[in-house]
C-alpha cells in the first residue's frame, strides 16, 4: 500500500500536521481492455487556508484524484489505494456513511460546468438549502434563509428573489457563484474547485476567481484548484502540482514552479499560454503529440515520446526508467520527475528565449513579472 506509516498523521498534533495529506494515492479502473491507471502514486500536502493548483492536460488524473478525495469513486468499480488523510482521518478507511457525512460538510466541490452540475428541475435555492439541511437539522425555512444569505455573500443581486429561480434563469457566472455558495454553505475545511472558470466568459472568470479568494480568506478553507490554465494558477495558488499520466511530474511553490520550471512538460504548458503583450505574429507552441494512453503507458518516463529534450539525457534512461519525484537543483521544496541533469540551464538557454524573449535576459525579473 503506502510507503509512509498509515497512522503517522492520525497521531500527530493536527495543528502542526497539514489539513490534507495525500500519500501514494492510486486510482485504477478495471475495464474490458485492461486496467486503466488513472492516478499512480500521487503524494501532496495542503495546509489550512492555502491553495494548491493542480495542472495538467485532460486525462492526466486531476479530476479523478479530486473525486477520490470526495469519496465519489465509492460504489463504482474503481480500485483505490494509498492514503487520503483529512484532519487526521484517512478517508479511504472510513465507511461509506461516514464519508457521506463529511462530503459537503468538511470537503466540498464545485464543478466545471455549473449548468449541467445543477439539477434543472429544482430552484437554485432548493438545491443550496438542500446542501445545508443534509448536515444541519433545521427547518426548510431556516435553510432557505441561509441559502439567501449565501447567495448574497457570493454577490447575487436580489438574493431573496433569485433564490426561487431555476438554474437556467441564471447567467453562467451567476450559476457558478451559486455553486460556490452551495459548496461553502457548510463552511468546509477543504474546497475542491474542478476547473471552476473553464465554462465561463473571460470577463467573468476573473470575478469568480476573486470571489473564491475572498471567501477562502473569510472561511479560512484550504482550496484545491484544478485547472489547465496557468494564469489561474499564477493568480490563485500557493503551491502547484503538475500532473502527467496520473503522476506528479513537478511539485513546489507556485512562484518557484512558474519561474524556474525544471520539467519539459511544464515548459510545454508554459509555452502554450498566449502572451497578451507579445508579438501578434508569434505562434503558440503546442506540446507535440497526444496525452498517453493510461491503459498502456509508455515505458520509462511517460512523457518521453513527446519530450523534445530527451536526447540531452545520456543513454536510454528516458525510455527505460521512470524518473523519481526528487528535489532538483533549487532546494528541497521543488521536486520534479525528470532525468535531465541541468534543466535550469536548458530552460534559460532554449525555452525562455522562445516563449518570453523580453524576460530571457533577466530571469530574476521574470519572477517578479509572473
Amino acid at each position: 500500500m503506502s510507503t509512509t506509516s498509515p497512522s503517522a498523521f492520525a497521531t500527530t498534533d493536527t495543528a502542526a500536521a497539514p489539513l490534507l495529506s495525500v500519500r501514494e494515492l492510486q486510482v485504477h479502473f478495471p475495464t474490458q481492455d485492461g486496467l486503466v491507471k488513472a492516478v499512480n502514486g500521487l503524494t501532496f500536502d495542503l495546509d489550512r487556508g492555502k491553495t494548491l493548483g493542480i495542472v495538467g492536460e485532460s486525462g492526466s488524473g486531476k479530476s479523478v484524484s479530486s473525486m477520490a478525495i470526495m469519496g465519489l469513486h465509492r460504489g463504482t468499480n474503481a480500485q483505490l489505494s494509498g492514503e487520503i488523510v483529512l484532519d487526521g482521518v484517512n478517508l479511504l478507511d472510513i465507511s461509506a456513511e461516514e464519508m457521506r457525512k463529511k462530503r459537503g460538510r468538511e470537503v466540498s466541490m464545485i464543478f466545471q460546468d455549473p449548468l449541467s452540475a445543477m439539477h434543472p428541475y429544482y430552484t437554485v435555492g432548493n438545491q443550496i438549502a438542500e446542501a445545508y439541511r443534509v448536515h444541519h437539522d433545521v427547518s426548510r425555512k431556516v435553510a432557505k434563509q441561509r441559502a439567501v444569505e449565501m447567495l448574497d455573500r457570493v454577490g447575487i443581486p436580489n438574493p431573496d428573489k433569485r433564490v426561487n429561480d431555476y438554474p437556467h434563469q441564471f447567467s453562467g457566472g451567476m450559476r457558478q457563484r451559486a455553486m460556490i455558495a452551495m459548496g461553502l454553505i457548510n463552511d468546509p475545511n477543504l474546497l475542491i474547485a474542478d476547473e471552476p472558470t473553464t465554462a465561463l466568459d473571460v470577463t467573468v472568470q476573473a470575478q469568480i476567481l476573486d470571489l473564491l479568494q475572498d471567501l477562502q480568506r473569510e472561511f479560512n478553507s484550504a482550496v484545491i484548484i484544478i485547472t489547465h490554465d496557468l494564469g489561474v494558477v499564477a493568480e490563485m495558488a500557493d503551491d502547484v502540482l503538475v500532473m502527467y499520466a496520473g503522476r506528479a511530474v513537478e511539485y513546489g511553490p507556485c512562484k518557484e514552479i512558474l519561474t524556474h520550471p525544471e520539467m519539459p512538460y511544464t515548459w510545454g504548458l508554459l509555452s502554450s499560454v498566449p502572451d497578451l503583450t507579445g508579438d501578434t505574429e508569434a505562434r503558440l507552441i503546442p506540446i507535440p503529440g497526444n496525452p498517453p494512453s493510461l491503459l498502456n503507458p509508455p515505458s520509462g518516463c511517460p512523457f518521453h515520446p513527446r519530450c523534445p529534450h530527451r536526447e540531452k539525457v545520456p543513454g536510454d534512461l528516458c525510455r527505460t526508467e521512470l524518473p523519481l519525484l526528487v528535489p532538483g537543483q533549487r532546494g528541497e521544496s521543488h521536486t520534479k520527475r525528470c532525468h535531465l541533469p541541468n534543466p535550469d540551464a536548458i530552460y534559460a538557454a532554449e525555452v525562455l528565449p522562445v516563449i518570453a524573449p523580453d524576460l530571457a535576459g533577466d530571469t530574476a525579473d521574470a519572477a517578479e513579472e509572473l
Binding site: L72, R100, Y121, A131, V134, M179
Partner: protein, 338 residues
C-alpha cells in the same frame, strides 16, 4: 397558458380537417366502385347509376367531403333524398351531429357504432396502461438500480422475450392455458360495469389487459432502465452526491425525477394510439371493441366506418400531444409554452 391551449386546439382542428380530406381522397381513389358494390353482382348500368345518385356517389369529391363535414357539424339524413322523405320516411336514417357517416354494412350510423365499441376499447386501454406503466417503470427502475446484477440481467432478458413474442401468440397462450386448460380465470368475455358490476368488468379485462400490456411493459422496462442509467451519469447527480446527500435522496429526488420526464411523453402517445382500439388483442379475445370494428370495416370495404375511426383516432392523438406538451411544461421548468 390558456392562449397556448387555444392555439394548439385550433391547429388541431385544422389538422383534423386535413386528415379527413386525405382519408377521404384515399378512399375516393380506391378501385372499389361503391355503387356497384352496394348494388350487387346482377346490377344493370341504369340501376348502378341510380344507386350512385341515391347514395351521392356521383357527386364530386369536394361536394361529398362538404356533405361529410356538414354532417359532423349539423348531422344529416341517409339517404338525403327529398322525394324519399315524402314517400317513405321510415327508410331514412337521421344521423345526429357529430355524424361521422352511415354504415350500410352495419346498418347503423358510425357514431352509434363507435358509441357501442368505444367503452370496450377504452376499458382495455386504461387497464393495460395502468398495468404496463406501474410494472414497466417499477421493473425498469429496479433493473437500473441493480445494474449488472442477476436481477437486472433477468429483467432485461425477460423483457426481450416478452417483446419478441407477438401479441396474438401471447393472447392465445393465455386464453388456451390460463382460461381454458387451467381454469384460473373465466373464459374472457367482455362484461360492462352495467352488466357485471366493477368486479365483473375488471375480471373480464384481466387476460386481454395482460396480453396488451405485456408488449408495452417489455418496451417500458428497457426504456426506463436506460433513461435511469443515463440519468445517473449526469453531472447534477454527482453534485447531489458531493453535497453528502444520502443515496436514497440522490436516487429518488435527483436521478429519477429527470429520468421519468421522457417516459411521460412516450406514455401519453402510446395511450392515445390505443384509443383507436387494440386490433389484435380484441380479435384474439373476440372483444367487441373499436379494433375489431376497424378490422371488419376494412375487410368489408365499409368506408364510412373506416373514415370515422381514422378521424377519431387522429383526434385522440392530437389531444394527447397537447396534453403531453402541457404536462412537460409542468414537469420541466425550462419548458416554456409558446
Amino acid at each position: 397558458m390558456l392562449a397556448y391551449v387555444i392555439r394548439r386546439l385550433f391547429a388541431g382542428v385544422i389538422m383534423l380537417i386535413v386528415m379527413s380530406i386525405v382519408t377521404f381522397a384515399l378512399f375516393f381513389a380506391s378501385p372499389i366502385d361503391q355503387a356497384s358494390f352496394i348494388c350487387g353482382k346482377n346490377c344493370s348500368a341504369a340501376q348502378k347509376k341510380q344507386t350512385a345518385a341515391a347514395m351521392g356517389y356521383d357527386d364530386s369529391f369536394a361536394n361529398q367531403w362538404a356533405d361529410f363535414a356538414k354532417g359532423v357539424v349539423q348531422g344529416r339524413d341517409y339517404p338525403d333524398d327529398p322525394k324519399l322523405r315524402e314517400t317513405a320516411p321510415e327508410t331514412i336514417v337521421h344521423c345526429e351531429a357529430p355524424c361521422l357517416g352511415y354504415s350500410r354494412e352495419r346498418g347503423d350510423t358510425v357514431t352509434n357504432l363507435i358509441k357501442d365499441t368505444f367503452p370496450v376499447s377504452f376499458s382495455l386501454a386504461v387497464s393495460a396502461f395502468i398495468l404496463w406503466m406501474v410494472g414497466g417503470v417499477l421493473l425498469g427502475v429496479t433493473a437500473a438500480l441493480k445494474k449488472g446484477s442477476i436481477i437486472d440481467r433477468g429483467l432485461v432478458g425477460l423483457s426481450l422475450i416478452a417483446y419478441a413474442f407477438p401479441t396474438f401468440f401471447v393472447g392465445l397462450v393465455l386464453y388456451k392455458f390460463v382460461a381454458i386448460k387451467w381454469g384460473l380465470t373465466e373464459i374472457p368475455r367482455y362484461t360492462s360495469i352495467a352488466e357485471g358490476g366493477v368486479g365483473g368488468w375488471l375480471s373480464s379485462l384481466t387476460l386481454p389487459a395482460i396480453t396488451l400490456a405485456l408488449f408495452f411493459m417489455a418496451a417500458y422496462v428497457r426504456m426506463t432502465r436506460s433513461y435511469v442509467i443515463e440519468s445517473f451519469q449526469e453531472d447534477y447527480v454527482r453534485t447531489a452526491r458531493s453535497k453528502g446527500l444520502p443515496e436514497r435522496t440522490v436516487t429518488y429526488k435527483h436521478a429519477l425525477r429527470a429520468a421519468l420526464t421522457p417516459i411521460v411523453t412516450m406514455a401519453g402517445l402510446d395511450f392515445a394510439g390505443l384509443m383507436g382500439g387494440a386490433i389484435i388483442t380484441e380479435s384474439v379475445f373476440n372483444y367487441p371493441g373499436m379494433g375489431k370494428l376497424a378490422v371488419r370495416a376494412s375487410s368489408d370495404f365499409d368506408l364510412p366506418t373506416t373514415v370515422g375511426l381514422v378521424i377519431l383516432l387522429a383526434t385522440f392523438v392530437i389531444l394527447a400531444n397537447i396534453i403531453v406538451d402541457l404536462l412537460y411544461a409542468v414537469i420541466d421548468p425550462r419548458v416554456r409554452l409558446g
